[in-house]
Symmetry: C3
Subunit: 405 residues, 3 copies
């Protein structure tokens, strides 16, 4: 069969089917190992890949999420009644909302000169020459004037500074923590959309009519067991779920993550797709001086052209709403790809079993002799002999090439 | 060939090439099925995986995005002119920006006592004993003093409360919706960077010089067809594209998602990579009492040491700028991996065709006889016989092992 | 062997092991190519996939991150001392924080009538009829009254408008840039959690006790080489690292990305997992009229019932804290999957070598004759002949089917 014949064969042979020749080894232990490995691979694919991991589904892990928060509650402090307009920040209601639970207020600060706080480095002095005029100490509150003045109503002296006076460390009024905030509620509305499947879901219970829903929302409080579909959360409940002591939180403030988790299977009814909630203190800096959560802001007033401000150091409970979403739906492409991978992996069994067979079982080389055919030896020596015998009863044009069968 | 010979063979045979023996089946239907399945698999890989999904590319799906927004516009309400400084929140211009479209303003609230709103549970009273002193009703506005007082200028009475007075539900002044806001514009600047490829792109049209660009930006308004590269959007256009009625939105407020979508192919010129925009109401709670978007805030004033506030319930149109980015570029690794997977998948065709052949075509067992060679039977029985005959004309050292060829 | 026999064989043969028959080609060049390709594939998998890409690990790329920022510093401007309460926005300390570095302040704006700025289109006039009453020019500042009035203290006239007067363009007082802001520090606390591994890590140095840590944090400044674990950053250092001129930034403002990058390998000690920082100007619109970063806000005052405001155009340096996290840990599943893929890929070598062999080496068709066995020809012609001979010395029930071996 020359080159021409080869090409002819190739063209003619396009519609031929080629299948590998296979040697059957009737060896029970080997067979058991072979089937055992096959069974493991199949089980892995069917149980883990297809049933547990749902590899037949197209998945969407980055849904579009919109969060809307609103805080509500009234608290009484002394003879003053506070509502959440004073307490909740920012008021716009995005996916981060915080409530002030304790305040240290410095009233009526003005641009003036006053004594620096004694804790600031090199602020203590006895005479004016101890204070460098114009110096701005980084940990201090302002610019030194160069004078040494009595520290407010005390007997010692500190350097005078030009700043918002009086300084916060001296003049701040510590208000008691707002323990009533445990009863504040926060409404967390979350709408999620899976663009790949064009499904939109919300976390608010579907009620038959608007009035019923309004009534439900005006009364319900979220509870994992009793009211899992009410999106209104008591701050005290959130702290409990995050395993934090609310009274403790009120002293230092803290950042709590509210995790909304959507696990949706759109092969079943989309309306079964409901969120679960979990809560955890995000800020783990418990042993740090900067632990907790606080920030400072000021309210500015103008009286007869003179600007004054009220400085507020606000300790807050901040809620970070973090939405995780996952949805899957049957799709042909991943099903095919994973099935192909599964089938391909079964072929791996052969590699393992071949190694076992050739190393441990095939002591006499029987199987290897049979499995491995030497192209040269086999072709030229015994078969050519056999051929001589065989050729009596046959008629091959192939012989003209001098190539044995 | 003993163990020693096997080892010797193995060492000598390291540079041997091993290739599976293949049986050719000249069966037209089977060949057609075989080539058909191969064609399907190849088509799937070439068309879908390589051309459509661009599997030869390395991809980057989580680019770094920076959004900068600015709102602009002037609206007249009665004899008052408002600019966006009053309307846009937050002023800093992050990826969420909102404009107030309607306000309910409660002027001059002070810490006082006043009558509770009649809609609050158990607020209606006829005598003082109907009101529990110190009670703070959760849905109410303050702490009850225990007195029953006339409801403002009405004929009935409600419990007196200590709160920010007067209560919002009674005193709020409803302003008309700001329909002119449809002409407000929002500038949305978006810079995106794909770290894997170190390419940075912006959504603002590249103009030959600064002055031309400034001129362009001062006049252009985004329009999908006419001005696709102008980053300035009319609020009315956004509402239209989101298929919402702007007048309706002005009444209830709403949250609209502005989706900026980057699909970049860096195998071609990176400057061809331009964003597309889409708009959709994110908040689907149309039939809810809390539908729409509003929030409350207050402006605080201090007059002669007495604090007062103006409480504003602001209905707003909030824009959430959501950026999706995807970029791909040729890379050797995924090209190799996917080519290998493609070749491997063609092997799957054999599994299918083998099954068809052995089950449907191979009625007489001709092919299975040929394909499957029993290591024992084939080796010991017929071949050994053949061997006896054959051995006449040959001279094998192999025979010493007693193992037939 | 009939259908019955086939079924019987199949049932009995369940525990048989099947292995492909292999032809050995003793061809040195081909063997070298074969082993070379195998070596390349193995090297790729072992070195790149397993060692470099750590394919034996389960990975987590979307950790939960909580960012907490606080700005600190004092700056003197004229005879006024500013602290960060006036400069930092928003005060709450989320993952975006900005500092005002330059201000253009328009004091005492009130709802009045005044002259429009001359740069507004069609604002210049000589007589009242040049101004359309009620017109609201989009690029203007208010509603035209229809009068033509002198432009403040100048000799020319512009249309009168009803607006917040005086207009910003005319009355704004440009304050000098706050170059001292280079010494402002920003504390960036970042806590990261990998839910898949339940490991939480923070970016603050672990000190033996609270007091030592407090002392450390009160003094340290981040420096890539000297203090890599101090979370307090000088603004000047950040600008340097982002390769920006701070003085330049102070004029135009700018948005700088602070990238916190966690690369964690939990197969080693989790406490080795520490973040690296990088800084880059996010806003690349250098040649744009809107380049830099500024926003406007106002402080509102009420004096004797008349509302006034101070409008502030604030140029700021905004820091966007962007956290990237990646963690890996040994896991059985990906190890198995990738090993299987690696083994499967070695099979690809055969496809390449077969092609080389049959095209370039196998000139006489020796190998192809040997590799490809024609089911029909091989079975019926020569073997049947051989069979005739062979059958003498054997006793096959199979013969009853008339099918040769």
């Amino acid at each position: 069969m020359g080159l021409l014949g080869f090409i002819k064969d190739y063209v003619l042979g396009f519609w031929d089917y080629e299948t590998p020749k296979v040697m059957i080894v009737k060896n029970k232990p080997l067979g058991v190992i072979y089937r055992g490995v096959q069974f493991l691979v199949l089980t892995y694919f069917i149980w883990y890949v297809f049933i547990k991991e749902k590899a037949y589904q197209q998945s969407e892990t980055r849904p579009e999420s919109s969060v809307h928060t609103k805080m509500r509650g009234t608290a009484v402090q002394g003879d003053r009644v506070h509502d959440t307009i004073e307490y909740a920040h920012p008021s716009e209601g995005f996916d981060v909302i915080s409530t002030t639970v304790r305040r240290e207020v410095t009233y009526d600060q003005m641009q003036q000169t006053c004594a620096e706080h004694f804790s600031v480095a090199s602020a203590n002095c006895t005479k004016d020459s101890d204070c460098t005029p114009g110096e701005v100490n980084f940990n201090g509150n302002g610019r030194r004037t160069g004078r040494c003045v009595p520290y407010y109503d005390q007997n010692f002296k500190t350097c005078e500074i030009q700043a918002w006076c009086p300084v916060e460390e001296y003049a701040a009024v510590r208000e008691p923590p707002l323990l009533e905030a445990a009863n504040f509620t926060v409404f967390i509305g979350n709408t999620i959309r899976f663009p790949a499947f064009n499904v939109t879901r919300g976390n608010i219970k579907v009620a038959p009519n608007k009035r019923k829903r309004q009534k439900y929302l005006s009364k319900c409080h979220y509870d994992e067991k009793k009211e899992p579909y009410c999106p209104i959360f008591r701050l005290g409940y959130i702290a409990d779920q995050a395993r934090e002591n609310f009274d403790e939180l009120c002293k230092t403030g803290g950042v709590i993550g509210v995790f909304i988790n959507w696990q949706c299977n759109f092969d079943v009814d989309a309306s079964d797709c409901k969120p679960t909630y979990s809560f955890r203190l995000l800020d783990t800096r418990k042993d740090l001086p900067t632990a907790g959560y606080y920030y400072r802001f000021a309210k500015y007033y103008s009286r007869d052209g003179v600007e004054s401000r009220t400085l507020i150091k606000a300790y807050g409970i901040r809620l970070d709403i973090i939405v995780h979403g996952y949805a899957g739906k049957f799709s042909l492409i991943p099903t095919i790809i994973n099935s192909v991978t599964a089938m391909g992996s079964i072929g791996i069994c052969s590699i393992i079993c071949d190694w076992i067979m050739l190393t441990f079982i095939d002591k006499n080389g029987v199987y290897s002799e049979k499995k491995f055919v030497d192209a040269r030896k086999d072709a030229i020596q015994p078969m050519s002999t056999a051929f001589t015998i065989v050729s009596y009863g046959s008629n091959h044009s192939d012989l003209s090439d001098g190539v044995p069968l």
